[in-house]
């Protein structure tokens, strides 16, 4: 930031948005014939502040080298920068550096665990605790992003295990009424999202973790939509694994994070194999390095890790509490204004109880994609479609929704622009007259 964050600004938001916005070059561009950009699509990917852009560039202009592989000064500096970033990011989510694996995105992190589990079958007797097969069950939820759904379908297809899932209530909450029938002695793993990327719903992590522990099942938390937006401590939550993506939290694309409890990572077979993850290689067979190296095959995303480290620092300076409070205020306003528009139906919780800043809705008589086209023509960037949560949309009886999602750089006036755009879409398609 160019100025420090103030405790409360005239427009009554918990942080100084103008100062924050000045750090994001892209926010001053215009779209569609000179309209100011109103970027309400941070749930898909966030924008980057100069601090992150500069950190990555500085690294590339001064210290770039292959990490963990060289004995020259550049290689030392690059390795330090990479490992310092790991340490900083680990601290940000309440864990130790050795428990943190860099992946290309959250999707890879989830696939890593799913493949490690099917690899366990042929990886020797000490891997038994990870093996799954016929009779075993993996439990997910109906509100998962495809990233936390298809890999488990595939794991079950590879191994003969069975996939089961929690349903979703009409209000867009997890239906936990049958938790004891779903999570049982047969359950090997429970994978669920911390915060829905469609509904904004925040799930009861503790309840799920407790039940999983009772039956000895592992837990994996999809924290893609929580870590960027609120203070999250994986150790305190007690999950076994968790994933998130850099690009959703001000950092470069091409980097994600898998957290795994140390004892689990130590016991887990590798996934991607190749350079830098080995202990000893012979033509006849190989042994593998301890974690996290075991899970980072090949030349890694070095400058991107540095960028994610800088993003975490940026967010820490602002304060994750403030970020959360800021988004709370934006979401509250959006919910109030949208629910007041006749013909608009919000999908997901309409109160602020256990709810984050993704607001999805449909408009009677206006297809979501047509609505977003009108919004786009006014400079308002939202996302439409099933947001990679197709089963959830099917469950809620809508093929697609319009989603507005907020971040620390959004202003109250942008919420107003959204609502004005929705009304314009209704007018344009004649859906404002009953």
């Amino acid at each position: 930031m160019t100025t420090t964050v103030s405790g409360g600004t005239p427009d009554s938001l918990p942080l100084d948005v103008a100062a924050v916005r000045a750090d994001f070059p892209i926010l001053s561009r215009t779209v569609r014939d000179g309209k100011p950009l109103v970027y309400l699509d941070s749930g898909a990917t966030s924008q980057r502040p100069v601090q992150v852009l500069d950190a990555e560039r500085r690294f590339l202009e001064t210290a770039n080298a292959a990490v963990h592989r060289g004995a020259h000064q550049l290689a030392e500096e690059a390795t330090d920068a990479y490992e310092d970033a790991r340490a900083r990011i680990a601290e940000f989510v309440g864990v130790v550096p050795g428990e943190l694996v860099f992946t290309k995105n959250a999707t890879e992190g989830i696939n890593l665990v799913a493949y490690a589990m099917s690899n366990a079958v042929t990886a020797g007797p000490e891997m038994e605790r990870f093996t799954v097969g016929p009779g075993d069950e993996v439990v997910i939820t109906e509100m998962e992003h495809h990233a936390n759904l298809v890999p488990w379908q595939q794991l079950c297809q590879r191994t003969g295990a069975t996939l089961r899932w929690f349903g979703v209530t009409d209000e867009g909450r997890l239906d936990l009424s049958n938790i004891d029938e779903l999570i049982t002695e047969r359950t090997k793993l429970v994978a669920f999202t911390h915060q829905s990327n469609v509904l904004g719903t925040i799930n009861p992590v503790r309840t799920l973790v407790e039940r999983a522990r009772q039956v000895g099942a592992l837990t994996l938390l999809d924290a893609c939509q929580s870590v960027p937006h609120s203070p999250v401590d994986f150790a305190a939550l007690g999950v076994d694994f968790a994933v998130f993506s850099g690009h959703k939290m001000l950092a470069p694309s091409g980097i994600g994070v898998l957290y795994g409890r140390r004892k689990l990572l130590e016991a887990m077979p590798p996934f991607l194999t190749g350079g830098s993850m080995i202990e000893m290689v012979r033509m006849e067979g190989s042994t593998f390095a301890p974690p996290p190296q075991r899970f980072e095959a090949g030349v890694p995303m070095t400058s991107q890790a540095v960028g994610l480290g800088a993003a975490v620092e940026y967010l820490s300076v602002v304060g994750m509490d403030r970020v959360a409070a800021h988004e709370h205020a934006l979401t509250e306003r959006a919910l109030a204004e949208l629910t007041a528009v006749p013909g608009v139906r919000v999908i997901g919780p309409t109160d602020m109880e256990s709810r984050g800043g993704a607001v999805s809705f449909v408009i009677d008589g206006v297809h979501p994609h047509d609505a977003s086209q009108v919004l786009d023509s006014l400079g308002v960037a939202v996302r439409v479609g099933h947001h990679c949560a197709w089963p959830l949309h099917r469950r809620l009886g809508v093929p697609a929704t319009v989603r507005a999602s907020f971040y620390l750089y959004n202003e109250l006036s942008e919420v107003d622009a959204l609502v004005a755009g929705v009304r314009e879409a209704q007018r344009f398609f004649g859906a404002d007259r009953p």
Partner: protein, 154 residues
């Protein structure tokens, strides 16, 4: 951006009053297509008689562009020979994939020329082609379908 450049009056008319909607019997080929980015879908049937497309019937859900394009499709192909309908399809696909740089031929595309503006929005091109994908696929199942089967719409 000029919203009207995409949503021509013709498109909005077809959207509000679609032609030939509903699934009818008999038919020679049927196809179900889904647009994976939005979840919209169409089921479309073709009846071929004497080398001509004698009926196209469909149902589905989707945005104004996809609904209007399918409505225009029925107008463009019904009563024409299979060969003519495929030539029309090629012209429409070319227009849609031309990123706004292809000059449409009104003699061939009739109301279809209204989609010229849509071609400038890559995310919407698939909308305009959804019905045509189904048409191609349904036609490929009929005795006259060889050329349809060999056409690739991407």
């Amino acid at each position: 951006m000029n919203l009207e450049s995409m949503y021509q009056e013709i498109i909005l008319d077809h959207y509000k009053n679609p032609h030939g909607r509903g699934l009818r019997e008999p038919y020679d080929g049927e196809s179900f297509q889904v647009n994976p980015t939005c979840g919209d879908e169409v089921t479309l049937r073709v009846k071929v008689a004497d080398g001509k497309v004698s009926d196209v019937s469909y149902e589905g859900q989707g945005c104004s562009i996809s609904q209007a394009a399918t409505s225009v499709l029925t107008d463009l192909v019904t009563g024409h020979t299979v060969e003519e309908s495929l030539t029309t399809m090629d012209a429409f696909v070319e227009l849609m994939q031309g990123r706004g740089k292809v000059e449409p031929d009104e003699d061939v595309l009739e109301d279809g020329v209204a989609f010229a503006g849509v071609a400038k929005y890559p995310a919407r091109v698939k909308c305009a082609l959804l019905g045509w994908m189904a048409f191609k696929d349904a036609l490929a199942q009929t005795p006259h379908g060889e050329r349809a089967a060999n056409t690739v719409i991407e």
